[in-house]
């Protein structure tokens, strides 16, 4: 279980990105965070793996504090949390497999990683991760030669190769076209349901949030303004989260699915 307790983040410039957030995310849940850009979605997600440090309050995972961890302990916590990114964040100049093997760092000594001597069982775990997102035949292709959708699936495979308990996805489909977006969201849904991995996704499309989210929370200016099931979240709720009337840009497809 992930727990936010009075969590606040103030960036050096004085921006209050997260305000006094208290929230619990039970194991195995598929939770979607919605909100305008700048509402604190990315900050909240990065607070879970300590990429962003809280200025006040605490984030704990199964009782262990992320906010107080550092060094080896923090790396150990992060190894149990997979993360995928809006811009995929792959290393373009190397192979897909080398990218996915980054997910095995926590299980590989520094010397082995420097030389690239990954153990066969780690390579097999990476291959299985690629199989799960249906892209294993591209293992030895350079990452730069893949399409956007394929690159994001490699990003998912890299996270899965960590064999994580939690998966964080920061705007995973914002750089993709609508059909590809659905492929990626379905992959995330399958991973959540079949592997029981707690999955937290930032989205700004209402229809995707309603369709794939089990639970939806809304952030506005760093504050929690909505917390409920996808069914309860109707247009009025989104209007409230966004603080304005809805436009076509808020919806991936012409009609809300």
């Amino acid at each position: 279980m992930i727990r936010f307790e009075n969590a606040s983040v103030v960036y050096p410039g004085g921006v209050h990105a997260l305000k006094n957030l208290t929230l619990e995310i039970p194991d195995g849940q598929m939770m979607v965070i919605v909100g305008l850009s700048g509402a604190g979605k990315s900050t909240m997600i990065r607070a879970i793996n300590g990429l962003v440090r809280l200025t006040e309050g605490e984030v704990t995972i199964d009782g262990q504090s992320v906010s107080k961890a550092s060094g080896r302990q923090l790396r150990e916590i992060r190894s149990r949390i997979g993360m995928i990114f809006q811009t995929f964040n792959l290393v373009n100049r190397t192979t897909v497999l080398n990218n996915v093997l980054m997910g095995r760092f926590h299980n590989t000594s520094t010397l082995r990683s420097l030389m690239g001597w990954y153990r066969p069982e780690d390579v097999e775990i990476a291959m299985q991760a690629l199989e799960r997102v249906d892209i294993v035949e591209k293992a030895y292709t350079r990452a730069s030669n893949l399409s956007g959708g394929q690159q994001q699936r490699v990003g998912i495979a890299r996270a899965l190769a960590q064999e994580p308990k939690i998966l964080l996805a920061d705007e995973p489909v914002a750089s993709l076209d609508p059909p590809t977006s659905h492929v990626v969201m379905r992959d995330l849904q399958h991973i959540n349901r079949e592997l029981g991995i707690t999955t937290i996704v930032n989205l700004h499309f209402l229809d995707l949030a309603k369709r794939y989210g089990e639970r939806i929370i809304g952030l506005r200016a760093g504050e929690l303004v909505y917390d409920g099931t996808a069914d309860q979240a109707d247009e009025n709720v989104f209007r409230d989260i966004y603080g304005r009337s809805l436009t076509a840009d808020d919806i991936l497809e012409a009609a809300i699915a």
């Binding site: 790396r75 150990e76 373009n92 760092f105 990683s113």
Partner: protein, 269 residues
């Protein structure tokens, strides 16, 4: 249009133009004027070029008729030059690679380490190749060793400068991904940063090798081995047609290295 024009808000104040460029230009003009003046000048005079142009005619004629029979005698020092250049580049660039990561803001997270590395490297770079050669000739005596040592330091200075600035500009996305997966610093540098800068590193190393071949001329002058020594001797005896052979050979060598490096880069990027 039925919509009313939006209410006029105040306009931002146009920032004042910086005086840096006009002041810089003025300083430049003054310095140029001083350099040409009688009292402070460096004695630059175009008249000498015109009056004495004929004096070089004999030398030029000899330079244009290279003494090809001299080629066999240049073989040994030429090979020595290439060996010094290769050893200097291999050792220097091998040291430069890890040091570059300590000299980049992206990979050296400890500000102290970054500051110390950068300061030491500024000093290394401030010392020209001929001074390194003189220092090492004084320290270890005449021969190829001071030449190699001089080139090692010269190459560290050049490659670390270029590579650390390339590292400053890498895509930070993969580094964030590595950190998020629990990678330690070494793992992140090896797999998130190095693949991004590897082609540049190879290009810079080949450039360092090319610089070493050129530097061989000055290395020889101070007794640090290679073709430079022979070039200097022939020049002292006014054997211009022999000097010509050496210059042509160096020219061909540099062109060859350039061709090889173009091919290598094409394959790597």
């Amino acid at each position: 249009m039925t919509a009313a024009a939006p209410a006029r808000t105040s306009r931002p104040v146009k920032p004042r133009r910086s005086m840096a460029i006009p002041i810089g230009l003025a300083v430049f003009v003054v310095i140029t004027w001083l350099a040409l003046s009688e009292q402070f000048g460096i004695g630059f005079d175009l008249v000498a070029l015109i009056e004495d142009i004929a004096r070089g005619r004999g030398i030029l004629a000899e330079l244009l008729s290279p003494n090809w029979s001299f080629v066999p005698r240049t073989a040994e020092p030429m090979i020595e030059t290439v060996q010094i250049a290769i050893l200097g580049a291999v050792i220097g660039c091998s040291i430069a690679l890890p040091v570059s990561f300590l000299a980049s803001r992206v990979t050296a997270r400890n500000r102290g380490v970054l500051g110390v590395t950068r300061t030491v490297l500024s000093v290394v770079r401030a010392i020209p190749d001929i001074l390194w050669a003189l220092l090492f000739v004084a320290a270890v005596g005449i021969g190829v060793l001071p030449g190699i040592l001089a080139l090692v330091f010269f190459n560290i200075g050049v490659v670390v400068k270029l590579l650390s600035e390339t590292i400053d500009g890498v895509d930070s996305g993969p580094i964030e991904a590595a950190r998020a997966s629990g990678a330690n610093g070494f793992q992140s540098v090896r797999w998130a940063v190095l693949p991004q800068v590897l082609p540049n590193y190879v290009a810079y190393s080949l450039y360092a090798f090319e610089l070493n071949i050129r530097a061989s001329t000055v290395l020889g002058v101070v007794g640090a081995g290679g073709i430079g020594n022979m070039l200097f001797t022939q020049y002292r005896f006014f054997n211009w047609s022999n000097v010509s052979v050496i210059v042509i050979e160096l020219f061909v060598l540099v062109i060859l290295i350039e061709l090889v490096s173009i091919q290598l880069r094409r394959r790597l990027v």
